[in-house]
Assembly symmetry: C2
Homo-oligomer: 79 residues x 2
DNA sequence: TCTTGACTTGTCAAATATGACAAGTATGAA
DNA sequence: TTCATACTTGTCATATTTGACAAGTCAAGA
């Protein structure tokens, strides 16, 4: 699986969960004590940036889901 | 949960799985088609670096586990 | 149309992840 | 002790993430 695909799937996970919970990006930022920016959330959701694990962790906190849930990418069959 | 704790847990996950599978860090690098370095694997396992999701994905590929498994951090009770 | 809210995108500066290499540490075997 | 293997750590250059801000897009209402 290509880098861009991985980033896209992670971003879709985040966006899907966020919408399911009825949050806006601004809501998320408000829920995170550590600083984070809607610009970055947007970029991550769109798969335009290769986020660090800590940033994803902060987002998972705001979404109230385990980090592993937003990192749920199908295990590739072939490398 | 502090940033350093998150990084440490992810690193421990990787190291634990790697040892369970009997791989050395050099083995891992050899299994990953995309370029990655033992220096970086070591730093990630030690929690000294805030790895990007794509790097963790590459490691998960080499370890033959889902990305979500190495990202398994207990959901924090309190923010 | 105009406005508002939500999101996207461009740019910038600062911080830092990454790959590469060298050197150091630790362990175990001969 | 010596050697080999595995890992850690320091440093460097490069690339990129991140937060911040501004501006742009888009859809839904009034």
């Amino acid at each position: 699986m290509k880098k861009s695909e991985v980033l896209k799937i992670v971003g879709q996970n985040i966006k899907r969960i966020r919408l399911e919970k009825g949050f806006t990006q601004v809501d998320l930022v408000g829920k995170i004590e550590a600083r984070i920016d809607t610009t970055n959330i947007s970029r991550i959701e769109k798969g335009r940036t290769n986020a660090t694990i800590h940033t994803l962790y902060k987002i998972s906190q705001a979404l109230e889901v385990p980090l592993s849930e937003i990192c749920s990418v199908n295990i590739s069959k072939k490398v």
